[in-house]
Amino acid sequence: MSFFKRLFKVGESNAHAIVDKMEDPIKMTEQGIRDLKKDLSMAMQGLAEVKGIAIRTRKEAEKKKHLAADYERKAMLLLQKMQSNQMDPAEAERLATEALNRKEENAADAQRLDKEATAHETRGNDLQSKVNKLKSTITTYENDLITLKARSRTASSTKKINAQLANIDSSSTIGMLEKMKARVEEDEALAQAYGEVANAGGSIDSEIDAALGGAETASASESLLELKKRMGIS
């Protein structure tokens, strides 16, 4: 491998390491969910359009059906008028035929629109199930993220506590306590030492007195007894 290639590789790996450090998985997931929601909104917009078209087409089909029925009723009325001699038969038949033609036209339109409406409704239902699936996926992701965030916070707090427990350096609380404990022990030792020095600080006579304490007391009482004897006091 040439020198420049190796240098480039080193640069590349360092850049990746920096980007890896900058990447916050929580923020990245949040952004991912935002993007998914945007997609969902677009899908819902499309679905709303399909549903709107389906309703309008179905309405139009119903209108055409009514019109067809209306033309048939009119043709029947014309024939009834012809039958009751209220109308010229030729004219009545011409108009009735025309009405029936219109009826056929509208019935054909109604049939076509019916089919179209059904197709739109089917497409709408299909899209609806996809939108529902996307909704449920995003909801799952959102819930997972909430749980992960909580876990991450707990882990971070636990890490901090554990670090404090483990860390005995002079800046940490435990370090301070240890330092204080050491100082107290030092003070206590010093106090004890002072006490010992104070005890040891007396004259040699005191030491002798202390050592012969019992003998001195005995000698004094003996002298007293002798004096009392001499004075005739019992």
């Binding site: 929601k37 969902l40 909104s41 819902m44 917009q45 499309g46 679905l47 709303a48 359009e49 399909v50 549903k51 709107g52 389906a54 309703i55 309008r56 179905r58 309405k59 119903e62 409406a117 709408g124 609806q128 529902n132 909704k135 995003i138 909801t139 959102e142």
Partner: protein
């Protein structure tokens, strides 16, 4: 408009959150929703102002072959109902005459084999589809024995009366709310 306004980024209305923002009480004109195996389009959002901040919201819903009115009353909790207009002639003729003569409607109302009992009366202003100017109206509301169906007589003028038959519904009966396909969401 100042020169700085030119550089200000216009805030784009991102619309409702597609997961949590599409609820029954946030329905707007042009929205779609499913109820009773049909898809309905919101044609209008009306309000009835009864005074003292007592407001009833009404959404006019239209399917390919039907129109109904979804109502929400907020009395500590939300009460939902749907109603359909019924021709006034379906009422007992004597009651119609009584109403048109300016007399108060009766305490009980026989209708389609059931008896409805007067529950509440009120007067307010009807605001059609966000209109600022309200239209004065009076209302008599009757309920059946179970309190599940209700009949409403509305008076809009001297002799202009409307009748509607409704029932209580629950929010869960409505689903698949979609924002308008025509606007930015």
């Amino acid at each position: 408009m100042g020169i700085m306004d030119f550089f200000k980024k216009k805030k784009k209305d991102k619309g409702p959150d597609p997961l949590s923002g599409l609820t029954l009480d946030t329905l707007k004109k042009g929205y779609y929703l499913d109820y009773d195996m049909k898809t309905w389009e919101v044609m209008a959002v009306n309000t009835y102002d009864w005074g003292d901040n007592d407001i009833t919201y009404e959404w006019q819903l239209q399917s390919h072959d039907d129109t109904l009115f979804l109502e929400m009353e907020n009395d500590d909790e939300m009460f939902w109902s749907i109603s359909r207009k019924v021709p006034l002639r379906k009422l007992d003729q004597r009651i119609i005459t009584q109403l048109k003569n300016g007399q108060e409607p009766p305490e009980t109302l026989p209708f389609e084999g059931d008896v409805f009992y007067l529950e509440e009366t009120g007067g307010g202003h009807f605001h059609a589809d966000g209109a600022e100017q309200g239209r004065e109206m009076l209302q008599w509301c009757y309920e059946d024995d179970d309190g599940t169906r209700f009949l409403t007589i509305e008076q809009w003028g001297e002799t202009d009366f409307e009748l509607s038959l409704g029932k209580k519904v629950e929010e869960y009966q409505f689903s698949d709310i979609l924002p308008s396909g025509k606007t930015d969401i």
